[in-house]
Subunit: 340 residues, 2 copies
DNA sequence: TTGTAAGCGTTATCAT
DNA sequence: ATGATAACGCTTACAA
């Protein structure tokens, strides 16, 4: 490793002089500066960020704690945050909890040890467990921005959420725009904090067009592909007419597709299925059915802005991102059909 | 921020004693240890990784340089690497080049400044440009593991690649197993280092079953969805019989699907389409058509192992991961049809 | 314009 | 069993 001292020795000046040159300080003899620069380049000198940070009491490091990086939604968040902060000289230290609460706390503790200047946390949905780490975060005044709905134990920290109610309303409005009037809704799991707002959005969209909400078209479901299939089956058993299905989430939509196809229905010729997701779809995840995605990069940008405020010493305020829907459409215009 | 000194003052012992307690050193009076521990916990002390690293000359930090994190393939790599290293106390610093070569070099330089103990680099495909950073990596003896085919300017560093030829052969064998005999092939772009091996794999799979390769079934294509559509159209124009399409990559497959559907063909009832990808598909990226994925986590694990070797002082050796195909199947058994 | 001293938080080493 | 000292690589403050 090349240190300032190494350069200083070869050029025969003091360490301070070299330090000054490296930092472009004024009042350096042009000759000295040239010689130092030449040697530094020759040796491939790169200043030690840790040592500098120790002295300057900064790290230019941010922490990112996610439940899972494999999920494109979180990958998109990570990517966007990295893109926003890299130009300002900040690096991102990744930490995945892999859906494990203890792991989440451990990773947060480690990042605290790295003296991150801020922490983006997408918290796991958990029972209670206000662990010691979360208290420390507050007591030590660590800057935290919560991604998504804020759980109890992160109270006091700003959260950046997406207006899911509005997003779902937009999605349903899209189906209405295609002429669909009888739209079934696969509602999300009760334990999810997102279920309520999304169902509200569904109702609101219909209400704004004076379309009565038929309760028999609303089917409670879980979160997985399997749950989607089960819910779709139940829907079919009700023998009620509908031309489209709006699913609480993407996996539910996939499951519904599977079930409907198995039942001999053609999607989207006879029935359109629309899924709702929190991430932009790409070529990598083109789907057999339509999905509307909320603009997750906007969420990341908002989170970055909140963190900027915190670093600038201002009070971070909660942000609610208004979704812009990104729609990969394979839904068909209405073509009445009776599900039998 | 809580330092050793703070605890030392409150307990009225020397900093060294506290340091020893924190590190579970032997020869500490049980009483002292208890008092120190109590105060430390009370104050929420977390040792400063940078200071410790400065003294110990380590960082327990690894760097990860990717072209894009949004791509599920890279996200999966990042996720797997994080999972492997976190338990050993290593953190991962993320850096995306966002497909920009200068950015790639800049990010590598910054990570060098952080004194990463190793660098995973998924290099951009680039013209020439053996920039200064790559020389420095070698001269300073930085540990580098290349993810994917190794470009010229990273010569000398171990690379972890997937045996793409074998992977494609497995994929084609899968179609053969379904009874398909006339399998068209959308070949990849010439500039891709993956194109050759994959085409070879296609040929090899057919050869091993004594099925003659019909050159008119091989269509050169690009890399995008659009390219896939164009290639599929060209294939249809050739008016040659086939029951399945094997695509060089996933986007090509998506494009082909689009084109075939537009031409009134039903997939997979009349024609099966199989895409080839380098990442496991999940519920998040269910596709309208079959894809075989090589087990990218195996690649990540192999890369982690190579890095372990390097850190242990051994010479890192190139690794070629034998693919295990993960197949999300919606391909149909053969049902002869003439593309017209 | 350049150099010296001190200190950031931690630990290895040698003393007591 | 505990403490004093120096050092890791760097930069601020002051001196020359």
């Amino acid at each position: 490793m090349i240190r300032l001292k190494d350069i200083a020795e070869r050029v025969d000046v003091s360490v301070m002089t070299v330090s000054r040159v490296m930092r472009d300080t004024p009042n350096i003899a042009p000759a000295t500066r040239r010689r130092v620069l030449r040697v530094a380049r020759e040796l491939g000198y790169v200043p030690d960020a840790a040592a500098r940070g120790l002295r300057l009491q900064n790290t230019h490091l941010l922490g990112l704690v996610l439940p899972a990086l494999g999920d494109p939604a979180w990958a998109a968040i990570a990517s966007a945050l990295e893109a926003v902060w890299a130009p300002s000289g900040y690096d991102l230290a990744m930490a995945c909890s892999h859906q494990d609460e203890e792991s989440e706390e451990a990773r947060i503790a480690r990042l605290m040890g790295r003296r991150v200047e801020g922490l983006f946390v997408a918290p796991l949905a958990r029972a209670q467990k206000i662990g010691g780490v979360y208290r420390q975060l507050r007591e030590q005044g660590i800057r935290v921005v919560v991604l998504g709905p804020r759980p109890e134990h992160l109270g006091g920290f700003p959260a950046v959420t997406v207006n899911d109610r509005a997003g779902m309303a937009l999605a349903v409005a899209h189906l209405l725009g295609l002429g669909h009037q009888r739209i079934a809704f696969l509602a999300g799991p009760e334990y999810s904090s997102l279920a309520g707002p999304r169902l509200e959005g569904y109702r609101a969209a219909l209400a704004s067009r004076q379309i009565p909400v038929r309760e028999e078209l609303i089917v409670p479901a879980g979160a997985t592909v399997e749950d989607g299939a089960v819910a779709a089956r139940r829907l079919l058993e009700r023998k009620v007419e509908f031309t489209a299905i709006m699913a609480f989430s993407d996996p539910l939509a996939v499951g519904a597709l599977r079930e409907l196809t198995a039942a001999g229905l053609e999607v989207p010729r006879q029935i359109s299925i629309l899924g709702y997701a929190n991430h932009p779809c790409s070529e990598f995840s083109s789907r057999p059915l339509s999905t509307v995605d909320t603009d997750i990069e906007a969420q990341a940008r908002a989170a970055a802005r909140v963190m900027s405020d915190l670093i600038a010493g201002e009070r971070g305020r909660d942000q609610r991102v208004e979704p812009r829907l990104i729609c990969r459409d394979s839904c068909a215009p209405v073509r009445p059909a009776t599900a039998s």
